[in-house]
């Protein structure tokens, strides 16, 4: 479980989050909110990319302030723009990057790279230059690069925002099939209809929290 306890976050002079407390234990959790509401910053707190100015974020009991490396192994992060997440020029090299950082052996890296690419029907692209992939393929590559690190939780920051409808559906299906706990920041209300929990942020605070059936309608009313 991820435990967010009385967390405030100030970036520069801007108070981005104010006294947020949440226990995240459901399998599929969506974070929604207007631009600038603090949802992306909240997501970055969950794997220690940002550290709270006040309060504490704990992943399985470990605080993000003191256990950065262990936390990042437990909590994978998929960014909105895969172009900013893919670090190596070739598909298989990029997938291997995270595993090398975790000290996996060459054999394990090769095996897991093949397995994850097969899973997403991208094995034929293994030696392909990453910059020549389609938007959907790039996002699946970004997800693959995180999956092979065997995280327990995957935090996603608007993973379908830059995709066309076909690629959005492909990525959404891939996300749906993940065995991990997924915490997804999104503006796309269609793909979170079957999530277990939806949390809406406004002005750095949680304003709605509950099942999609109630939260989404209230959120839409709020945005009028």
């Amino acid at each position: 479980m991820i435990d967010v306890e009385n967390v405030s976050l100030t970036l520069g002079t801007n108070e981005v989050l104010r006294d947020v407390s949440l226990k995240l234990a459901e399998r599929r959790i969506a974070i929604i909110g207007a631009n600038g509401s603090g949802k992306s910053s909240f997501a970055r707190l969950l794997n220690g990319l940002l550290l709270p100015s006040k309060g504490e974020v704990r992943v399985n009991g470990m605080g993000t302030k003191k256990n950065g490396k262990d936390i990042r192994r437990k909590v994978g992060f998929v960014f909105q723009n895969p172009d900013n997440q893919i670090v190596f020029p070739v598909v298989e090299e990029d997938i291997a990057f995270g595993m090398k950082n975790l000290g996996f052996s060459k054999e394990v890296i090769a095996e897991k790279t093949k397995a994850v690419l097969t899973q997403y029907d991208m094995l034929h692209l293994m030696e392909h230059p990453a910059h020549l992939l389609s938007g959907g393929q790039k996002q699946l590559l970004a997800i693959s690069g995180v999956l092979v690190m065997e995280p327990e939780y995957i935090v996603m920051d608007e993973p379908t925002t830059l995709l066309d409808l076909r690629n959005k559906r492909r990525v959404a299906a891939a996300i749906e099939a993940l065995a991990q706990t997924v915490i997804m920041v999104t503006h796309d209300l269609d793909i979170i209809q079957n999530f277990d929990r939806v949390i809406a942020f406004e002005n750095g605070k949680v304003c709605l929290d509950g099942p999609p059936s109630s939260v989404i309608q209230d959120y839409m009313d709020m945005m009028v």
């Binding site: 990319l49 990042r72 992060f77 670090v87 020029p89 070739v90 995270g98 230059p129």
Partner: protein
């Protein structure tokens, strides 16, 4: 190296990147030490043979020369008019062989292998504070983001063209720089998120 690597299992593909780069440096230096057309001509034949050994096509060979073709033609004409046509052939041949050799290394070496070789090769610089792993990652990022930056620049140029600012370098340079800096932040987060420890 961006998208030039041509998968294969030839002896050249299997050769350690360090050996290939050392051979490239040695051949490059030797080509500048010799005079006359004989050695560069033999070298050209040898390099073409190496392309065949690596299982590469003549189209791939030409692709290594094509970007520099105009420059080579200009070099040929200038040298021909100033110092004579024999020297012009010699100089262009020498550059052509060098380009083909460098291309051969690129075509037969994965970028990750090259980066590993660079990282290993720089190990001796640790004593003056150089971190080879950081240098390797910097090379990798440079290779990865050259096409991304090209796309970004194209997008900004098109946007400015739509506003009638296609001739203004500043109108392109400023938004590109701002987006690059924002991108650098995101990339840094992404590297952290994937467990990188320098």
């Amino acid at each position: 190296m961006l998208d030039l690597y041509s998968p294969g299992s030839s002896i050249l593909h299997r050769l350690a990147p360090g050996i290939k780069v050392s051979a490239l440096m040695l051949c490059g230096s030797l080509l500048f030490l010799v005079d006359g057309l004989l050695i560069p001509s033999i070298a050209l034949g040898f390099v073409v043979g190496l392309y065949r050994v690596a299982g590469l096509t003549m189209a791939q060979l030409w692709a290594q020369l094509r970007p520099a073709a105009l420059l080579l033609v200009i070099l040929f004409l200038v040298q021909g008019l100033i110092t004579g046509w024999g020297v012009a052939v010699f100089i262009v041949l020498r550059f052509g062989v060098l380009l083909l050799l460098a291309g051969l290394v690129t075509l037969t070496t994965r970028s990750s292998d090259m980066i590993e070789a660079i990282t290993r090769g720089l190990g001796w610089l640790r004593w003056i504070g150089v971190n080879p792993s950081k240098v390797g990652l910097a090379f990798s990022l440079a290779l990865r983001f050259i096409p991304v930056l090209a796309t970004l620049t194209k997008e900004v140029r098109e946007a400015q063209k739509a506003r009638g600012l296609e001739r203004s370098i500043i109108a392109v340079a400023i938004p590109v720089t701002v987006r690059m800096l924002k991108m650098a932040d995101d990339i840094s987060d992404a590297i952290d998120a994937r467990g990188y420890t320098p």
